[in-house]
């Protein structure tokens, strides 16, 4: 059935102001945070209750219509890219904070609540640690789908470490309650399977999270080095000492220059690397540790170590780091950001490889990364108006991902696979690995109508009697190949 034929029924479920069917208005939703991909959804709905979500999904199920859930649309892998013959279910009108239970350190939320609002609702005594850079707008529902990280995840963990309960609308429209405020519900950890599943297993409509007390104190420094190598060694030394910093961020020379040009905070533009280290926690422990961090920077030849004397200075340091993506506009009109992860110890050689790729492709590659957990964000800068440059940038970015895989890493640390990185999945996983992923998908969504075409590199069916993909003898012999 065509989506257009469902519009009346969608209106009867969500109301006239909860359905967008006009072609011009639908264009608003053609991309998420990754603008390279555009697809106009067949119809858009903005439900306000779990019941509406369930009825919309049931309607799609009965009429064999695919659908995609979308939060605030800040994702960087095209995970919320609509499908043309499907319904886009936008969760941003379900944004009530349902309960703040400080006594038990839990919050219960609708999925459209923004990440930042959670910490604000439980402040000043508590906070919610996973803090993606888009936290002012990104929604907790989207964070659940992507298992979002952020600056603080090296110490505090990821979204998946904080989710205790989910109400989920399954792809057949059924509503299930997984977990709750209490821990360790008997049975399979379906919450663990759901968080990070990129909208392919269902839609979370109510979310219970754990929150934690705000640390007693925070100490922050920025140190500059001649090159990235010693900065990387400093990170290893800090961690080897037994410190678990709240955040460790690094920028290379290209990123420093761009950030300084846009923020003028006084970063030396000839520095090869800048390292931001923040320790948080109990006063005595932070003080004792912080001295060690400063020593580690000095021992590795830091040219300058600037310790934030007060909150204003600390904010200035973070302003420079958070300006990095936007500052790339000073280098080139467009950039392509990657999200590969490598073991921390391979940092030097991988950065070397990235630099040589930049030279080979004649493109500026600026590096900003979460150094503690080895999550790189190389920004491949290009000018989309120059014919062929976008393609060159994409190819270069692809080789950077390959370099991360070669170093024993991952294709994505926090942005997700979505549509953008699924072509790299076969480089990280074997056919049998992917077939096991597919079994989980099929258990939740045998007709595969939830966010179709994402995550998995090639379409796969859910058989009635599931079995892993086995290469056909003709394939093994090289006579035929799978398309």
């Amino acid at each position: 059935m065509d989506v257009a034929e469902l519009v009346d029924e969608l209106i009867s479920i969500c109301g006239a102001d909860g359905v967008v069917s006009d072609a011009v208005a639908r264009r608003t939703y053609e991309s998420d945070g990754l603008l390279q991909y555009k697809v106009q959804p067949g119809a858009v709905v903005l439900p306000t209750t779990t019941e509406q979500v369930s009825r919309v999904v049931s309607l799609c199920h009965r009429n064999e219509i695919p659908w995609v859930a979308r939060g605030s649309g800040t994702g960087l892998s095209g995970g919320a890219l609509p499908v043309a013959d499907g319904v886009l279910i936008v969760m941003s009108r379900m944004r009530k904070i349902l309960e703040v239970d400080l006594a038990n350190q839990r919050v219960v939320l609708e999925p459209g609540v923004t990440n930042r609002e959670i910490s604000m609702a439980v402040s000043p005594s508590h906070f919610y640690p996973p803090d993606p850079s888009s936290q002012i707008v990104c929604s907790i529902g989207g964070n659940i789908a992507e298992n979002s990280g952020g600056l603080h995840c090296f110490k505090y963990g990821f979204t998946t470490n904080y989710v205790h309960g989910l109400e989920v609308v399954l792809p057949d429209g059924q509503v299930v309650e997984l977990g709750g405020k209490e821990m360790d519900a008997p049975g399979y950890d379906l919450i663990g399977a759901f968080v990070g599943s990129e909208g392919t297993l269902g839609i979370a409509t109510r979310i219970t999270l754990r929150i934690v007390p705000v640390p007693e104190t925070v100490r922050t420094l920025i140190a500059y080095f001649k090159s990235v190598g010693p900065a990387g060694q400093t990170v290893s030394d800090i961690v080897a000492d037994g410190a678990l910093p709240g955040a460790i961020e690094m920028m290379d020379n290209a990123a420093i220059k761009a950030c300084e040009d846009s923020t003028h905070i006084g970063m030396p533009i000839d520095a090869g690397a800048a390292l931001i280290v923040e320790l948080d926690g109990p006063e005595a422990e932070c003080e004792a540790r912080f001295e060690g961090v400063v020593k580690n920077c000095e021992n590795n030849g830091a040219t300058e170590v600037h310790v934030a004397a007060n909150e204003a200075e600390r904010e200035l340091i973070w302003k420079a780091r958070k300006a990095a993506f936007a500052a790339m506009g000073r280098i080139a009109p467009n950039y392509y950001v990657q999200d590969g992860v490598i073991p921390r110890t391979r940092l030097g050689e991988v950065l070397e490889r990235i630099a040589s790729l930049g030279r080979e492709y004649d493109l500026v590659v600026a590096n900003v990364f979460h150094a503690g957990d080895g999550n790189l964000h190389p920004l491949v800068c290009y000018d989309g108006s120059v014919p062929g440059e976008a393609e060159r940038a994409e190819e270069c970015a692809g080789l950077i991902v390959q370099a991360c895989l070669d170093a024993g890493g991952s294709i994505t640390g926090e942005h997700g696979v979505g549509i953008d990185k699924k072509r790299f999945m076969s480089g990280m996983f074997t056919d049998d690995d992917l077939a096991v992923f597919q079994r989980l998908r099929c258990a939740f969504d045998p007709e595969q109508r939830a966010n179709p075409g994402k995550v998995m590199p090639t379409p796969r069916l859910c058989g009635e009697v599931p079995g892993p993909y086995r290469r056909h003898p003709l394939e093994v012999a090289g006579i035929a190949e799978r398309v």
């Binding site: 006594a103 309650e177 360790d184 399977a193 007693e216 961690v239 991952s410 994505t412 077939a435 939740f444």
Partner: protein, 382 residues
């Protein structure tokens, strides 16, 4: 009663394990996975025709000290792995009861067992970065990665953590390690008044402290334990003492605290003649949990900040009675150790929500279509 002979397979490599599983699936032989055997009795009754032992999958394949990760065969005893890590001043932050040091990493993950360190470092599922599994049709597959941050692909390891071997066999895991605290100090507060203990737990749990382990025990009287680690744990310990004093507890402090914590974790297991159940409750309901414990004549240890408790009662107390006394305070009640006749009462897991159970059954039938992985052992007869 005569039982048919149970044969044991002891594969030495993941591919041998895959062959063994496939052969068992071919003739429909139900199997159980066995690690160190310290929790083999957990779950509902299940009579396997074969056992797959991980006793030969015991290699610490890699310990990347600088990256603080390790790759372990699932049959590796945790105690053995910890010795390796400790040489570099590191630990895998899991400290469940080890029962003669036999408990293996695979068994601990498959049962979601944990100890006091769970307060700060979370559960086994949170420390596993990657996992290689063998399914009953012989599929050998890996998920996750060897880096500490990764969102590529589905998190199959979380599904297998706590699945009690009902989805397949865990053959290898990649884990994240943490630094061993340089020094530790434990603050202990005692009181016979549950209300005072509750108030102390609240104050400590909401203070801006980094508590390594935060436990409670009740056996007629009660005790709060908070362990601090790092380079300067005394400052935090002093703050904790103030809070416990204010709540009216008798407070002591020790840096020779290993035995205190061994007692806490060992009390999670029941000796012969006793029953142990694991309870999930809200942290603020501690007093109610104590009241129910007293009515049952039991004793309790638990993770105060998490609302997880292990209750022990004499095996003369019926499981139905335990469930009914706790029904209003504990959302989940799971039987762990018990004599066979108590287990045979068939109330090991409690009643799962029907919708959630259907989803779990769908997962089970996709991963183990032959239905040979510990049939009947798990929640809802899975």
């Amino acid at each position: 009663m005569a039982k048919t002979e149970i044969r044991t397979e002891t594969p030495a490599t993941p591919s041998e394990a895959a062959e063994a599983m496939q052969a068992l699936a071919a003739d429909g032989t139900p199997l159980r996975v066995r690690g160190g055997g310290t929790k083999f009795a957990w779950g509902s009754e299940c009579e396997p025709g074969a056992i797959i032992s991980t006793a030969s999958l015991t290699e610490v394949k890699e310990h990347n000290a600088a990256d603080m990760t390790a790759i372990l065969g699932s049959g590796t005893p945790l105690a053995q792995a910890q010795e390796t890590f400790a040489k570099s001043g590191q630990m895998l932050a899991l400290d469940p009861p080890l029962v003669g040091e036999a408990a293996t990493i695979g068994g601990i993950i498959a049962t979601n067992d944990s100890g006091p360190l769970r307060h700060r470092y979370r559960a086994a599922r949170d420390l596993v970065l990657g996992m290689t599994v063998v399914l009953s049709d012989g599929t050998l597959a890996r998920s996750g990665s060897r880096v500490i941050k990764n969102v590529a692909g589905y998190d199959i390891a979380k599904l297998f953590a706590g699945s009690l071997g009902t989805l397949g066999l865990i053959v290898e895991v990649i884990v994240r390690l943490h630094p061993l605290p340089r020094r530790t100090v434990t603050v202990l507060g005692e009181s016979a008044d549950p209300a005072s203990l509750q108030s102390a737990l609240f104050d400590l749990g909401h203070a801006p402290l980094e508590i390594e382990a935060f436990d409670v025990a009740w056996a007629g009287g009660g005790r709060v334990l908070a362990r601090f680690g790092g380079v300067a744990p005394e400052g935090q310990a002093a703050n904790a003492r103030i809070l416990l004093n204010k709540a009216g507890l008798d407070v002591t402090e020790t840096d020779d605290d290993a035995a205190n914590w061994t007692d806490q974790r060992d009390a999670q297991r029941a000796p012969q003649g006793e029953v142990s159940v694991k309870l999930s409750a809200l942290p603020a309901d501690f007093e109610k949990v104590v009241a129910a414990t007293q009515r049952l004549g039991g004793r309790l240890v638990g993770r105060a900040g998490l609302g997880l408790y292990w209750l022990r009662t004499p095996s003369t107390v019926a499981l139905g009675e335990i469930r009914s006394q706790l029904s209003t305070v504990a959302r989940h009640i799971v039987l762990l150790d018990a004599p066979d006749d108590v287990r045979a009462e068939g109330q090991v897991w409690g009643e799962p929500d029907p919708g959630t159970l259907r989803l779990m059954q769908a997962v089970k039938s996709r991963f183990d279509p032959a239905g040979i992985c510990a049939p009947g052992l798990f929640v809802g007869g899975i």
